[in-house]
Symmetry: C2
Subunit: 459 residues, 2 copies
């Protein structure tokens, strides 16, 4: 057999035509979302005022195993997909490991990350429903950028509430979204009731993700023909992101490979859930038994130190309650540079799989993460996003263990995006001023004490 190439791109014919819904192969589903108004399980109708109809249905659909990707979505996917599966020959050599390291690189588009995979789907369904526009929030800016691109493509107006401190600190991210035609508003703002209330209390606040979510939801439900969209955590998002794993699995089959271990970073779970989907399917159906590893920051350790409980998805406590690994919606993550992983909760679907023992999790400190990021950049020419570098760290650690043991394992990890907009973090690492933040047990106890009470379910 000839040598495995550095990068493999599927042909357009080989690209998946359907998303894969992992829930169809789970023996047991995660506990249902709870409507905070009624404290009863949320019905699909409860979701219609906020989400567009097809997406609300996808959110609750545990039956349909394969979902056709609409042709219009496939057409836009083809502009930047397939993304390459890359054999990290140089990294292997630099680590002097017998392990084979593969990574799926999702940073190959202007949005710079995998977020575009779901943004396109969500914008398409909104357009199809005849909606007039969308609202969302963004923190670090990856999701806002991706959705701006998708909305530009489908000609759909978009309002992005961007956390004010990011809005001021990251003018370039804002400029990218504006270039794609989005309206970007610093949150809190005077465009919503909740924003005005917060500004009245504290005119100088830098805002928060929770506040931005509240504003985006309020704007959507009070604007004729608008809906709100979210870039992670939700089942619908993991469904769309399954394109990552499906492409990867096909590419590995072509190469005659199968991973012994699949590694992904985990914030809300959108990338991890997408990458692992078909491999977890093999595991749940007994076809194969790869190890599956979530990597999270030690500063925001939802899986490894959180509690499996019902909690709000946002700081503002206006969203449905979800059963998930959580640090408490009042948890204030440290100023870790991986903005995309600074989230108190976790995808309910992945939480269930972790709780049932189908996957592992590991927490890593950010100086170790940037050490890995820099090493990787020098050897593979891709400067990774801080979020993605969590997976690199874990993959390198696995490869170094293989060096010790002499095992030639096949390691697969997800490289979700590039770090072009994260150079402040790299500078901090280069200058030796980066610190590690690890919450104390007392910190976590305090933030977990804010978990909501639900009569008969969570007292």
């Amino acid at each position: 057999m000839s040598k495995i190439p550095h990068r493999l791109y599927l042909s357009e014919e080989q690209m998946p035509k359907q998303w894969y819904n992992l829930r169809a192969d789970m023996k047991e589903q995660h506990d249902p979302m709870i409507n905070p108004g009624t404290m009863k399980p949320a019905q699909v109708e409860d979701l219609y005022p906020v989400f567009c109809e097809k997406l609300a249905k996808q959110e609750l659909d545990t039956e349909t195993r394969y979902v056709d990707i609409p042709e219009e979505v496939q057409e836009m996917y083809k502009i930047y997909r397939p993304s390459p599966l890359i054999r990290a020959y140089n990294l292997e050599k630099a680590l002097d490991t017998p392990a084979k390291i593969y990574y799926k690189f999702e940073g190959n588009n202007t949005s710079g990350s995998h977020k575009l995979n779901s943004a396109i789907a969500q914008a398409y369904y909104a357009k199809e429903q005849g909606l007039k526009g969308l609202t969302t929030e963004t923190g670090a800016g990856q999701w806002g950028t991706a959705l701006s691109e998708a909305c530009a493509y489908f000609g759909l107006p978009l309002t992005v509430y961007m956390v004010k401190v990011s809005y001021n600190q990251k003018p370039f991210r804002k400029a990218v979204m504006q270039t794609f035609g989005a309206e970007v508003i610093a949150s809190p703002s005077d465009t919503t009731h909740v924003g005005r209330e917060i500004l009245k209390k504290d005119p100088n606040t830098g805002g928060s993700l929770g506040c931005a979510i509240s504003e985006a939801v309020e704007k959507a439900v009070t604007s004729e023909g608008y809906r709100y969209v979210l870039g992670s955590v939700l089942n619908q998002v993991l469904l769309h992101q399954s394109i990552i794993g499906l492409e990867t699995k096909t590419a590995m089959e072509i190469l005659g490979e199968y991973p012994d271990v699949v590694i992904g970073c985990a914030g809300g779970g959108s990338n991890l859930g997408g990458l692992i989907a078909p491999f977890m399917q093999d595991k749940l159906t007994g076809k194969a038994n790869p190890r599956i590893v979530a990597v999270e920051p030690a500063s925001c350790p939802s899986f490894t130190r959180g509690r499996y409980a019902y909690d709000f998805c946002d700081l503002g406590q206006i969203t449905p309650l979800a059963k998930m690994y959580t640090l408490g919606s009042g948890f204030i993550p440290s100023a870790n540079h991986a903005g995309g992983l600074r989230y108190h909760g976790m995808s309910p679907m992945l939480s269930k799989l972790y709780h049932d023992g189908s996957m592992e999790a590991v927490a890593v400190e950010q100086t170790k993460v940037f050490e890995a990021a820099t090493f990787f950049a020098k050897n593979e020419t891709i400067l990774p996003a801080p979020e993605s570098a969590h997976a690199i760290r874990a993959a390198m650690d696995e490869a170094l263990r293989c060096k010790e043991s002499g095992e030639a394992k096949t390691i697969l990890f997800g490289l979700t995006g590039t770090g072009y907009f994260d150079m402040t973090a790299y500078t901090s690492y280069n200058e030796g001023t980066m610190e590690d933040y690890i919450p104390t047990d007392e910190d976590l106890e305090m933030s977990l004490s804010t978990l909501p009470k639900i009569p008969g379910i969570q007292e």
Copy 2:
């Protein structure tokens, strides 16, 4: 025949194993470089103190048609190459043109541009010669970034003199280079004689490219085992960049296509010379007759309003004299946002071809360029570098003419890089504060009055 895919990637087997030296097919060579010390044509030995030996030889080699790409260079190319040839279906649809538009996208690596193709070759030959390190200068930062990556890969120390005003304005570019291990020094600096002299005269100067070149060259020739490298203008650079055109031509052959017109932006000529190489070969050898178009900023119109004359390559007037289209080495380009195109001269090889009528040139204004860049981004999801957007503008204009005439021409252009580090420019365009700068005839007359006198050659 099945539909042409959105993007075509060659397989590793299909990738070129040799660079193509266009000079071997030119009926007449460009006039030789002149050593400013002796005012005689430069010999290869004259170049050895500054350039490493193999590169000095490549610089003067007009005979060897195909040059083997060293295996180590091919290995590093494979990390990020082949780059895709993309059919711009969405742009075509948005323009409602019968033209077929293809672009070769070179922004698919962390350096963000085509510059890496030559940086790898230059770093490799330096390593092979046993050199201890390299120096270079960078303005906007694309070349400095690319060379930092290449030197990191080959384990070669690198000192980059970065124009002080850019050093302060673009901390992220600096951080990328530092992450790859380069020493980045704001120029003028106290590390060189020439730098100290300039600082003595004007301690608050923001520096200039000419000053940075002078410092980099001084540092190289005064440091044991160091050499200086340059990212454009030179014949050796165009040779390495021929990989762009060779890959493109192979990909078009696979698709059964051939361009009616080939379009590239032109600063020093590194991308344009690389992209057009095999198509110009066809033209020079009578195999085909594509139109070949250089696109330059109206603010720095070397081809369209410059003079074909001997001139210095740098403001400091320490480099050899080259016969080229020039605006005069004293020309101070306006604050146009396409930093990579703000150069007073042009590749001598391309200058000769233009002078002989083998190619055309067009100058475009920057507001029109950013209009095209934004339109392209919305339709193709790639946010282009301002330099690359010059080619987009010209390609769109060509496609719009096809719409008028009903001709289904095949248009090919080079998309040299991404605009992630140019958001200040996009913001200026989005906010409507961007201006166009066009030098007056008097401006050009004055800067051209500084052309050097060469006894018997240029009086």
